[in-house]
């Protein structure tokens, strides 16, 4: 095993990540306005912005899901207990002692176990919660005059709001964790350039050198 600079985030993945980031920020901002937390923009413009951003994110997600499934990248999010405790202990204790992060990225494991678990939770629970309630909200016109509309709309709205709060909390932790380890810049750079330090097995290295030489830098 040896550390190499390997391209682990390809163009689509980076585009997905940053577009998603921008759209989620727009959604959080406009959603907070619609909810009444701020009045900086007119209600109609907030609604239209929210709807457009939501549609944009949905389209992006269709591509992202397709990409995950076809490239096998979904495997990065498989939960594992292997090393989970060590990572957790690092954030809870070792980080204060100035120790290095215990996790080295692997070619088929670019997230540490805790990271993978939280992303998985996000993708399996928070996002679907937001999407389902959001779609129900978006398609309100189709069920706006049913016998259970008023009580259902209430639950849709509450679910959507609750999802948004969890999303905001996730973003705070996500951004904060970029400051751990070596430096903020080193954490962000891979998502811009695509390259990060990865622990390659000899077989993986041989494969990359032969079949995908562009993905390995040194």
């Amino acid at each position: 095993m040896a550390l190499h600079q390997v391209k682990i985030f390809n163009g689509f993945e980076r585009f997905w990540h940053w577009t998603q980031m921008a759209l989620i920020f727009i959604l959080l901002f406009s959603g907070a306005g619609i909810h009444g937390f701020h009045h900086w923009v007119s209600f109609e413009n907030l609604v239209y912005t929210h709807v457009l951003a939501a549609i944009g994110l949905m389209v992006l997600w269709v591509f992202a899901i397709f990409w995950h499934l076809t490239t096998g990248s979904w495997r990065h999010y498989l939960p594992t207990t292997n090393g989970l405790l060590r990572v957790a202990r690092y954030y809870a204790w070792d980080i204060f002692k100035g120790e290095d992060h215990p996790y080295r990225k692997h070619f088929w494991r670019k997230h540490n176990p805790l990271q993978a678990l939280s992303y998985l939770g996000l993708k399996l629970f928070v996002f679907p919660l937001l999407w389902l309630s959001g779609l129900a909200y978006l398609l309100y016109g189709l069920w706006s005059n049913g016998p259970f509309t008023n009580s259902a709309l209430e639950w849709v709205a509450w679910t959507h709001t609750a999802g948004a709060f969890v999303m905001a909390a996730f973003i705070i932790i996500h951004v904060y964790l970029l400051t751990t380890g070596h430096s903020f810049v080193e954490h962000v750079r891979p998502m811009i350039t695509g390259y990060d330090e990865v622990d390659l097995s000899p077989e993986e290295e041989a494969y990359l050198r032969k079949d995908e030489p562009g993905r390995i830098k040194d």
Binding site: E44, Y48, F96, P147, N150, E154, F165, A169, I173
Partner: protein, 580 residues
């Protein structure tokens, strides 16, 4: 045409700055204080030193010339396409000695019009609501303005589309010759109607200084009703300009585009009958039985519909397709068009009465009834805030409507209805709820009145207001006699003891549709303290939220923020210790 005398006592500058204001304060101490919105700026010329008789508030009800024709920008030449020039008909060459003679001439050719008309509300003053089964109509109802036409036909029937209705109990409602064709069809603007009987001395002024009507000229001018015909009564309901409806005032004779986009000459120049369509002298658009949601919309192409709804022209999905249009169209099944498109009523400078207190009626000055003008409306004209014959009034202009879920059914408190006197009485209780798919949010004018009722039986009462006798309130100022007489006329039980009760009536707001750029912004309702703040039972984004979701959510976000800051702080602390 409710002409009143031209010879009003003119405002006399000598009296300006007189003791008028203190006088108001003495006469109505509570009233002047409540009337915070009323401009008190200039002392009003009024009754100082002399008594001003008369009951009517309006000086001129006919349309300022030129008289409106039923021409719209949709059909510029409609008027000229008529196949008959009535001025050339030999039957209409006159001379006519009376209105009924003209009617006889009309019915000679229009031989089905008479039978059609005598079944119409404008004639019968009677309507049985098919949903509630209630007997409605001016002959029966008690309202919270002048309270009852029944028994007061001698005054009120000046807006009956017939001749000689002095007493609805004895009037021959089958006599077609008493139909007044001219009041709706003449187009010269010179025709008018007077109260059928003269009433008490206090009301004599109504009959003064009226020019004679040239019936031949008037008869030859007949056409489709213009807004001067409809407006002469409907703009002045309740005893004055815009008193009753709030959205029907003399402003609509020549409204600016901002006031009414349909009726304005800068807009579509609609006359009333462009929307209030009908055939055979039956028209659409009565508030007695409303279509709260028109699900049919424009109907099939080329087939005009006999409804007066917005949807019958604009359809159910009126907003142009697009992100905005789709969202707005989402609203139409739950929100009436009027709710967003009539941002306020009593626009254009003419105020509407919003509050009436009968308790103060009957004060006298030098033994005579009098009036006070204490409100200057937007167009500069003064309005009466007190009349001995009616009591005290408050006015509103550019009023934000009251919003209610409404399914088109209004249940009336009739004169026979017993009610609970500890609560305000709803003259017309509006039915509807957010859980009822046929209900939509509608705008209303709410009229508040304190009016007499039968304290023993807990019912509303008929008052005998008009008449040249000792009991008529308008002239004698005695509630006890007026109520006893009014109830006895119709063989209604009366305990003999009257009190005063708070009443509300609700007037659907349908007119004065603003141009689209003046429609309500979303935030007017989608806000915590917006226009719909008081409507409950449904979730509305921007207005509602779940307290617990918000609380726990905010705690989660703030807790997370605090957590990472704490984590960062400890990291910095430990790093500092390590470097030492």
């Amino acid at each position: 045409m409710l002409h009143t005398a031209k010879g009003w006592p003119r405002p006399d500058p000598r009296y300006w700055g007189s003791l008028f204001l203190p006088l108001i304060l003495v006469l109505a101490p509570g009233h002047a204080a409540e009337e915070a919105k009323t401009p008190v700026a200039r002392p009003l010329p009024s009754i100082e030193g002399k008594v001003e008789l008369g009951i009517s508030e309006y000086k001129e009800t006919s349309n300022p010339r030129p008289v409106d024709k039923s021409v719209t920008s949709l059909d510029q030449s409609r008027g000229s396409k008529s196949t008959t020039d009535h001025a050339k008909l030999k039957e209409l060459q006159g001379p006519f000695k009376s209105g009924p003679e003209v009617t006889k001439a009309c019915l000679k050719c229009h031989n089905k019009a008479g039978d059609q008309f005598i079944h119409n509300k404008h004639w019968t003053w009677s309507y049985r609501n098919p949903v509630t089964g209630q007997q409605l109509g001016k002959r029966y109802l008690v309202n919270n303005f002048c309270t009852n036409a029944a028994g007061n036909e001698g005054m009120c029937a000046q807006c009956h589309a017939g001749y000689g209705l002095k007493d609805s109990r004895t009037y021959d409602f089958s006599n077609q010759e008493n139909i007044d064709c001219l009041v709706c069809h003449e187009s010269t603007g010179t025709y008018y109607k007077l109260p059928p009987t003269r009433g008490n001395k206090a009301c004599a002024v109504l009959f003064e200084g009226k020019p004679a009507i040239d019936l031949t000229r008037v008869a030859q001018s007949v056409a489709l009703p213009g807004r001067n015909n409809c407006g002469a009564c409907h703009f002045y309901g309740g005893g004055g300009d815009n008193v009753k409806h709030g959205d029907l005032s003399s402003v609509l004779f020549h409204p600016p585009r901002d006031v009414d986009v349909h009726m304005s000459e800068q807009g579509e120049n609609f006359s009333c009958v462009i929307c209030h369509v009908g055939e055979g002298h039956q028209w659409a658009g009565s508030r007695y039985n409303m279509l709260a949601e028109d699900k049919q919309g424009t109907g099939k192409p080329g087939s005009p519909r006999r409804t007066a709804t917005c949807e019958s022209c604009h359809g159910n999905q009126p907003h142009p397709l697009g992100l905005k249009g789709i969202k707005l169209n989402d609203h139409t099944d739950r929100v009436a068009c009027e709710t967003c498109h009539i941002p306020s009523f009593a626009r254009g400078g003419v105020a509407t009465k919003v509050d009436w207190d009968w308790r103060t009626a009957g004060r006298l000055k030098n033994g005579e009834g009098y009036r006070e003008e204490g409100y200057i409306q937007g167009n500069g004209e003064p309005r009466h805030t007190y009349k001995s014959i009616k009591g005290s009034f408050k006015y509103g202009e550019n009023v934000k409507p009251l919003y209610r879920w409404f399914n088109g059914v209004a249940r009336y408190t009739l004169v026979s209805t017993h009610f609970d006197p500890t609560r305000p009485v709803e003259i017309n209780h509006l039915e509807g709820s957010p859980d009822d798919p046929d209900s939509r949010i509608w705008p209303f004018k709410r009229m508040h009145t304190v009016q007499p009722y039968d304290k023993g039986n807990n019912t509303l009462v008929y008052m005998h207001l008009w008449g040249d006798d000792k009991d008529a309130f308008w002239g004698n100022y005695d509630f006890a006699r007026a109520i006893r007489h009014g109830m006895k006329d119709f063989d209604l039980p009366y305990s003999g003891e009257y009190g005063f009760i708070d009443t509300y009536s609700y007037w659907p707001i349908n007119h004065m549709v603003a141009p689209k750029e003046k429609a309500l912004a979303c935030r007017e309702c989608h806000a915590r303290q917006g226009r719909l703040a008081r409507l409950s039972g449904f979730y509305m984004p921007g207005r509602d939220s779940n307290h617990w979701v918000d609380l726990i959510g905010l705690l989660l976000v703030l807790g997370t923020l605090g957590g990472v800051l704490f984590h960062a702080f400890i990291r910095i602390l430990f790093r500092a210790r390590r470097t030492h």
